[in-house]
Assembly symmetry: C2
Homo-oligomer: 255 residues x 2
């Protein structure tokens, strides 16, 4: 302790910690709803599904907001975490893509309750423009730049198909958006200084499948999954840069 006060000693909060703060916040909100005034690291950790030592270390990065022998004041801790995450101000969010996912996002209550305000819902498809979703009128994507500037949008959400995502991203960036949440299954290219977070629904399923397979594999012995289908063409190399039309080595029908 170099500082006498209980201020965040260091502005560098580990990424891993930042990612968990919202979880703690949610658990704390649950506690206030139940009228709990004070919570120990052990209890809060259980509610958040983490190790209590990890929780304490995480919280210690924001400052010394607990009372030894007692625990943390729930209300106070909520405020401190919210402030650290920047949730004490409200953030204007624009969602591009009013398909199933875009509509689901617009209707998602978790946004509004955390200081996020859906400033616009945009789509290219004419038939969707003008429709009302979650109290919002769907606007045409042409309006993207105008909307971002006029409504002070600082976070862009991409809920389009993979094909259109990069274009939307570029337009967000050139309009001044520096934080983007991407649901499209593509790797976005952005300049330095722009943050992109990715949520890929199918990736999560694939990770689950991997573990599920492994559980099953244990019961069946190793190598149980080789050749469930004919192993498609082992390396089968022929020339250095074979042109596309060189489809001579047909081999067996791969997969």
């Amino acid at each position: 302790m170099t500082r006498p006060s209980s201020r965040p000693r260091d502005r560098g909060i580990p990424e891993a910690t930042v990612a968990r703060l919202p979880v703690y916040l949610r658990a704390l909100h649950g506690l206030t709803d139940r009228g709990v005034p004070t919570v120990s690291s052990e209890e809060l950790a259980a509610a958040a599904g983490v190790n209590s030592a990890k929780l304490r270390k995480d919280l210690s990065h924001l400052g010394s907001y607990g009372t030894r022998g007692v625990g943390y004041d729930v209300e106070y801790l909520i405020y401190q975490i919210s402030r650290e995450l920047g949730l004490t101000q409200d953030w204007a969010v624009a969602i591009v893509g009013a398909g199933n996912l875009g509509r689901a996002l617009a209707n998602y209550g978790g946004f509004v309750s955390r200081g996020f305000r859906i400033a616009a819902l945009l789509d290219v498809q004419e038939s969707l423009v003008g429709a009302e979703v979650a109290g919002l009128r769907v606007e045409h994507s042409d309006q993207l730049e105008a909307v971002v500037r006029q409504r002070r949008v600082s976070i862009g959400v991409i809920a389009t198909s993979a094909a259109g995502a990069q274009t939307v991203c570029d337009r967000f960036v050139s309009a001044g958006v520096t934080s983007i949440l991407n649901f499209a299954p593509v790797v976005l290219n952005v300049p330095e200084g722009v943050d992109v977070r990715k949520v890929d629904l199918s990736i999560e399923l694939q990770i689950l499948a991997f573990h599920e397979q492994r559980k099953a594999a244990g019961a069946l012995g190793p190598d149980w999954n080789v050749s469930v289908e004919p192993p498609p063409a082992p390396p089968e190399r022929v020339g250095g840069r074979i042109p596309v039309d060189a489809v001579d080595a047909a081999e067996e029908e791969g997969r």
Copy 2:
């Protein structure tokens, strides 16, 4: 190298690697669509948005499937990764919750194209039962256990509200599901041996807000965000278990 062959030398693949394999897979599919037969680690890494050394190390965990001086055979690598992830078999998935999110998931093409088959879409709400979504008839949640057993469901997706999530989870588990993908904003309690992956839309936004705030903070100097609203009641402790009405010690305003 202890093994002469090019089989996965070690069955322990790092989690971080597993999480990236689906990304590589997607990039590889993009390459086949463009007719590219062979790819170097440098190119593939660029397409996947990672470091090329990391990519090579990741792939080395599955075995030695590249050719030095040439690169990787796209088709072959796709097969190997797919097999490792368990995508060569098809997985029956049940989605509970036919709200906006549930419907979005059912319509999401990324599932089917990766070996996942939506076996059922369930909801408690009577008004939704019977509706057709993505070629599926919405069934009542009562059917959960029956559906899981009869259709060999091995992965459960929870797209309900926070309130119902734990119940649905418990029912999945007791019906024998050991892999769960949770979209509800709660920490699920599951027994040993059950894998849960969590996707929380609002957490991602909160992480973005944190970084966005930090960018803005740099320009405004430190402490710019203190007291944008009155700092709510510093610890204000009095007794061990103070009733809500005990509000006396104001202290100095802590922070």
